[in-house]
């Protein structure tokens, strides 16, 4: 008798796909290609929870590990469940959409103030800009300009929560979670910069 040779792995990928199709995951993600680079989009049952610039966040694995720690490790790659996000981003970048109509989940954002800042930021319309000072005032603490800046730099859902529309009071662009070049690119797309 020869030694037992293991069965073939053929069929394993299909079985894994069948599992993923109906599994009770807490977080679904997809990688989305856009004119501002590759984004990792992730959603919970409540809505879009993350839109990460892959290169500015240490790569896909680092983004997923952070999501596992902050939201839940029960994460699966299920692109179909992010079709609406991909479609709306396509429309935005091709100039056919000025407003995102997506539920968002800010549960992983630390602190009430941070959430209020991001909610205030959502109301800045396409093509407009606001200031860190104005965001702080609208979140109920006019002097917390630096904290407003920190909350915006930690924005987990850039583009959809348009933190690129927040600039310095003196007219400077300020920083951006995907690098200041991307901030310029987005403001140019919205007609604020030439």
């Amino acid at each position: 008798m020869t030694i037992l040779s293991p069965p073939s792995s053929a069929g394993a990928a299909e079985a894994a796909a069948r599992f993923a199709a109906t599994a009770p995951a807490d977080v679904d993600y997809a990688v989305v290609d856009t004119p501002v680079g590759r984004l990792v989009a992730a959603r919970t049952q409540h809505g879009l929870a993350r839109l990460a610039y892959e290169d500015f966040n240490g790569g896909l694995d680092a983004v997923l590990e952070a999501l596992a720690d902050r939201l839940s490790p029960r994460i699966l790659e299920r692109p179909a469940r992010l079709d609406d996000v991909r479609r709306q981003l396509d429309e935005y970048f091709s100039g056919r959409r000025t407003d995102f109509d997506l539920p968002i989940d800010l549960a992983a954002v630390r602190g009430d103030f941070g959430r209020r800042i991001l909610q205030a930021c959502r109301t800045i319309p396409f093509g407009a800009v606001s200031t860190y000072r104005d965001m702080a005032t609208r979140a109920g603490s006019a002097r917390a300009v630096r904290a407003a800046g920190n909350a915006l730099s930690a924005n987990p859902i850039p583009i959809v929560v348009p933190c690129h529309r927040v600039v310095r009071t003196g007219g400077g662009l300020g920083g951006y979670t995907g690098g200041v070049q991307r901030k310029e690119q987005l403001l140019r797309l919205e007609g604020r910069l030439v």
Partner: protein, 152 residues
């Protein structure tokens, strides 16, 4: 903690091979699905430093055991076919696995975990709830029995 998707990517082939070896190609998908469903349910409570391969195979072993028990309990109709014949032979498979499936449950588990899942005896002991030495003995007894049944 590694995201479940990575766990699935890393463990799916070995869980599949084990399931095919243990219950046959026909029923392997049931064991596979039940294994990852149970793993996903328990995943948030798993310690971050756990040996993921050993953990996955412990679950897979239990699901395969459930499957064999359910089959043994199955409808006891007069003239019911013997257990081995219930597995449809798979043309691409080493026919020896048919005989492995008919081994006593502990020997079957030790042999499949060793030769289909390629676990070491310490990990097999973890899955079976016994020592590495006891796991090695079970595997050797199983192989000995196969040699008696299937001459070289």
């Amino acid at each position: 903690m590694i995201p479940f998707q990575r766990f699935l990517d890393e463990q799916r082939d070995v869980v599949w091979r084990f399931a095919v070896a243990s219950v046959g190609r026909q029923d392997a998908d049931d064991v596979f699905q039940e294994t990852f469903l149970a793993a996903m349910r328990a995943y948030p409570r798993l310690r971050a430093d756990s040996n993921l391969r050993a953990w996955a195979m412990t679950i897979a072993h239990r699901k395969a055991l459930d499957h064999h028990r359910a089959r043994a309990r199955g409808p006891q109709l007069p003239g019911n076919v013997p257990e081995v014949a219930a597995h449809d032979p798979d043309p691409g498979e080493d026919p020896l696995w048919q005989h492995v499936r008919a081994l006593p449950s502990r020997q079957r588990a030790a042999v499949t975990l060793r030769y289909a899942a390629d676990l070491d005896y310490a990990a097999i002991g973890t899955a079976l709830g016994c020592s590495a030495d006891a796991a090695r003995r079970s595997a050797h007894e199983g192989i000995k029995k196969l040699r008696q049944e299937v001459p070289a």
